[in-house]
């Protein structure tokens, strides 16, 4: 709750500074790079309990997202996230498209047309996005889904983006012993136990990219 002037001089690693559209574009670019880097691993995780397309689906979606951000004008953080969400819904081709798309779009709409947003506003917007994802898919914590990474991440965002990234990573690892209750993996019942959820894994990449964007400035 400090003064804006003081906030801007806060040292790297704290999350007290405001973020503009450029920051959000960098976040999306870093997320796309992470998805590109980890695509094979995501698909491998998905081949164990899903239909082996999570990596390639997200690769396609995030590549389209970055291309759209290059082409279209996005003046505000909200506009970046709304455009990102629209691209993911229309290009991913699997269930993660509407789920991640809803996360981004709802978060973007919650941010509105502010030119700069605070970490607290981003946390609130992502919480709204995560709630919308839960509503869309009907999943809750413990169902072995992306929510198992996203919910602890959003809870930790108030502390720091790095803490949120760690919480998401821990959340993704915690899906290993869980039994899937949503999506194709739920058909496997007990056989889904022992595998890390691909959606929780990619969610952790998304939050890690946010911490990376923060650390890089």
């Amino acid at each position: 709750m400090g003064r804006a002037g003081a906030d801007r001089r806060a040292p790297v690693g704290t999350v007290s500074r405001v973020m503009d559209a450029d920051f959000f574009r960098r976040w999306m670019e870093l997320a796309a790079a992470a998805v590109e880097r980890e695509a094979d691993r995501l698909t491998e995780l998905d081949s164990a309990i899903g239909d082996a397309d999570h990596g390639s689906n997200l690769q396609r979606g995030f590549a389209a997202l970055v291309a759209a951000l290059d082409k279209e004008e996005t003046a505000t953080p909200g506009a970046v996230l709304v455009l990102a969400g629209r691209q993911l819904i229309s290009t991913v081709g699997g269930a993660s498209g509407p789920l991640y798309g809803t996360l981004m779009r709802r978060a973007g709409k919650t941010l509105g047309d502010a030119a700069e947003v605070t970490p607290a506003q981003l946390a609130e917007a992502l919480r709204a996005g995560v709630t919308a994802v839960a509503g869309l898919g009907g999943a809750k914590a413990g169902d072995k889904t992306m929510l198992d990474a996203l919910e602890p991440a959003v809870d930790a965002l108030g502390e720091s983006f790095a803490a949120a990234a760690q919480a998401a990573e821990r959340g993704a690892l915690a899906t290993v012993p869980m039994r899937a209750r949503k999506g194709r993996a739920s058909y496997l019942g007990e056989r889904s136990v022992g595998h890390q959820d691909p959606g929780a894994t990619s969610s952790a990449l998304l939050i890690a990219a946010l911490a990376e964007a923060e650390a890089a400035r």
Binding site: P98, G101, T102, R105, A132
Partner: protein, 140 residues
């Protein structure tokens, strides 16, 4: 009383969506019944835009636009990403025509019920109700 409710069938498979659309049209008889206005428009949105298995928001939007005559559009989807994509488009976007609704119904039986009802001049509520009611048809 002129425009019919449009029906959109969303499946992970282009062949399934197209075949169910054909079957529903055939079973609706094309005659339309009491309304006399002919069959309701039916469009298939199956698979991904590049011909694979999956869901395409673009194909769904195109299909919904193509059958929208102003009386509303009833969308039936098979599972997973097909359902989630339609829901996401309805909840967060403005891509689908006004008066588009995702109907909670079994895909094949619901499609037949929806097309028959829409072809007979039923409004969107009637079409949605008929499609949902197909869940109650037991087979043993």
């Amino acid at each position: 009383m002129s425009a019919r409710v449009g029906i959109v069938l969303v499946s992970h498979s282009a062949a399934v969506a197209a075949s169910v659309a054909d079957m529903a049209r055939a079973l609706a008889g094309g005659g339309g019944g009491a309304g006399g206005g002919g069959s309701a428009p039916v469009a298939a949105a199956g698979g991904t835009a590049d011909g694979g298995f999956g869901t395409s928001a673009e194909l769904i939007t195109e299909a919904a636009t193509s059958v929208d005559g102003g009386a509303g559009v009833a969308v039936l989807a098979d599972l997973g990403s097909a359902v989630l994509t339609v829901k996401a488009l309805l909840a967060e976007g403005d891509e689908l025509p006004a008066g588009t609704r995702l109907v909670d119904a079994p895909f094949v039986e619901g499609a037949v019920a929806a097309v028959v009802t829409a072809s007979a001049g039923g409004d969107l509520d009637a079409v949605a109700a008929a499609a949902s009611e197909a869940y109650s048809y037991r087979k043993e």
